[in-house]
């Protein structure tokens, strides 16, 4: 394992310090936690607090999306491990400006349980806390047989849209209704060219032969649904777009937003080439792609590969919310 780090057990602490010291005008650390919150004075223009978080190793998610118009605070857990309820609770308290706090949780048993415990704690303070569990990863079967679909890169669409409505003054009931409407329209699937190495473990979660890829891996190196020989970008695009097309029951004339997300070690050059192929395929379906984004947003440490997120824009207002400027580090 070759990593730029000091003591692996301190890597999250040092990362959070490096982050807030690098962006002192935008972020500050909530004392005693590894949660970060935006600098702007919340009490000035009270809005529903939007809080997210999860295991670390997905940078710039989540802290990179804290800022005006997106998240109010983000909680950084240990690498690939949900943060603990006390830390989430501190973030909820800090993010509350009297109008309640909305939690955006990725669907992992750990995240769901820890965020729920935090919610219980905050309820005792009479903070109105509501939440959505994002489960955009269509690579796994749904909850009849599993914990349910995982939350992956599509989560940042939820951050962006809820953040935009919260800034505009929407109340917590409206945010909750919106979250329930937006989330089922977001679907993601990924392909890995290599495994990710957790600093404290020191070896990749899985190994792929020099000519092998794996479809459907999770962002913590959870195994995927099929391993095969490396294909060219067009073939990868066909596999992922077809799966998403089916999941969306895509029909001509519908409107979509698309993210090509690098998993960590894949250069932007390859991501743009891949997006070019994806857009060809979507053009052939005669659907409208109104919004596109390419880059490393929801990574998996040093994993090579990409994920593709396609969101159906069933409400005309959503596009404007995606396009609104924000002051985050990473959007």
């Amino acid at each position: 394992m070759k990593k730029i780090m000091n003591d692996p057990s301190q890597i999250v602490t040092e990362m959070v310090q490096g982050l807030v010291r690098s962006y002192p005008d935008q972020l500050k650390q909530i004392p005693g936690t590894e949660a970060v919150i935006k600098i702007a004075d919340l009490k000035q223009r009270p809005q529903v607090g939007i809080v997210s978080g999860g295991g670390s190793g997905h940078e710039p998610t989540h802290a990179g999306f804290v800022g005006d118009g997106m998240l109010t605070a983000a909680v950084c857990g240990q690498v690939f491990t949900s943060p603990t309820p006390d830390q989430i609770y501190e973030a909820i308290q800090a993010a509350d400006a009297g109008r309640g706090v909305f939690l955006i949780i990725k669907n992992y048993s750990g995240d769901v349980m820890n965020f729920e415990m935090a919610k219980d704690m905050a309820a005792m303070d009479n903070i109105d806390v509501r939440s959505i569990v994002v489960d955009d990863d269509i690579a796994v079967e749904n909850s009849t047989y599993t914990q349910g679909r995982r939350g992956v890169a599509g989560t940042i669409f939820v951050h962006k849209i809820l953040g935009a409505y919260a800034r505009q003054g929407a109340d917590i009931e409206a945010i909750e209704a919106l979250a329930q409407q937006v989330t089922p329209n977001i679907k993601t699937i990924g392909v890995a060219l290599s495994g990710a190495t957790v600093p404290e473990v020191g070896q990749p979660g899985f190994e792929l032969a020099p000519d092998e890829i794996e479809y459907g891996v999770g962002i913590h190196g959870e195994p995927g649904y099929r391993r095969e020989k490396l294909q060219d970008s067009r073939h990868l695009a066909v596999e992922l777009v077809n799966k998403l097309k089916k999941a969306h029951h895509m029909t001509a004339g519908e409107h979509f937003a698309v993210i090509v997300n690098g998993l960590g070690a894949t250069p932007l050059m390859e991501q743009y080439v891949f997006m070019n192929d994806v857009l060809d395929l979507l053009a052939a379906e005669n659907v409208e792609v109104d919004f596109t984004k390419v880059g490393n947003y929801m990574t998996s440490l040093d994993m090579a590969g990409v994920s593709l997120t396609i969101m159906k824009l069933i409400e005309p207002g959503w596009l404007a919310k995606l396009e609104e400027p924000v002051t985050t580090i990473a959007w």
Binding site: Q78, S82, S109, G110, M113, E116, M117, V140, T146, E200
Partner: protein, 194 residues
């Protein structure tokens, strides 16, 4: 019957075992999970150990509560809330009874309330359930625990991260079942049930 002494001994033995088997637990978590179960438990038990050695608690409820709080605030992931809730429920009930069987049953109820899993879904519940039955029948021994842990190998996971790999989860011992196995073998070693 839990006493201050045997509870402290139990948790100390459990901590030692977890530290010794940290890598093995993470290895179990690699093919069907995300490879961190050993690190998670190790971090949590180290915090429990530190809290208990500095606080010198003098009653069982506060030992169990300290353990719960440390597990909840240091572990994270799925195992933190599950083990943490189990100890919290045990702590609550321990002001009423110090009998092992009802305490463990309260812990298990907490785990199920928190994680919504049932017997047979390839989780630590598949160890807690037969162990509690054996304690109730006054028949718990190492073999019972071992059998329960090994039995998770042939199950297909339908809860937790292992459920994502579907049928391919069959053939691997559940890491949470393995760590719960250590919890109960060290409980035997500490003389808590006898």
């Amino acid at each position: 019957m839990l006493t201050v002494e045997n509870t402290l001994k139990w948790l100390e033995l459990f901590n030692a075992k977890i530290q010794a088997e940290k890598d093995y637990l993470s290895e179990l978590d690699t093919p069907i999970g995300d490879g961190d179960h050993g690190n998670n438990m190790s971090r949590g038990l180290l915090a429990v150990h530190e809290a208990l050695t500095t606080q010198s608690a003098t009653d069982v409820p506060s030992i169990l509560k300290t353990t719960a709080m440390m597990l909840i605030s240091k572990v994270g992931g799925a195992s933190g809330p599950l083990y943490g809730t189990a100890f919290l429920e045990m702590a609550k009930l321990s002001s009423t009874t110090l009998e092992v069987a009802p305490l463990l049953a309260a812990g298990l109820a907490g785990i199920q309330k928190r994680g919504h899993a049932q017997v047979g879904e390839k989780t630590l519940i598949d160890v807690w359930t037969p162990v509690i039955q054996a304690v109730e029948a006054d028949m718990l021994d190492g073999a019972t625990i071992e059998t329960a842990v090994m039995a998770t190998k042939d199950m297909q996971a339908t809860k937790g991260r292992a459920s994502y790999v579907g049928e391919r989860s069959i053939g691997h011992i559940d890491p949470g079942a393995a760590s719960s196995g250590y919890l109960f073998t060290t409980m035997l070693m500490a003389g808590v049930v006898s």
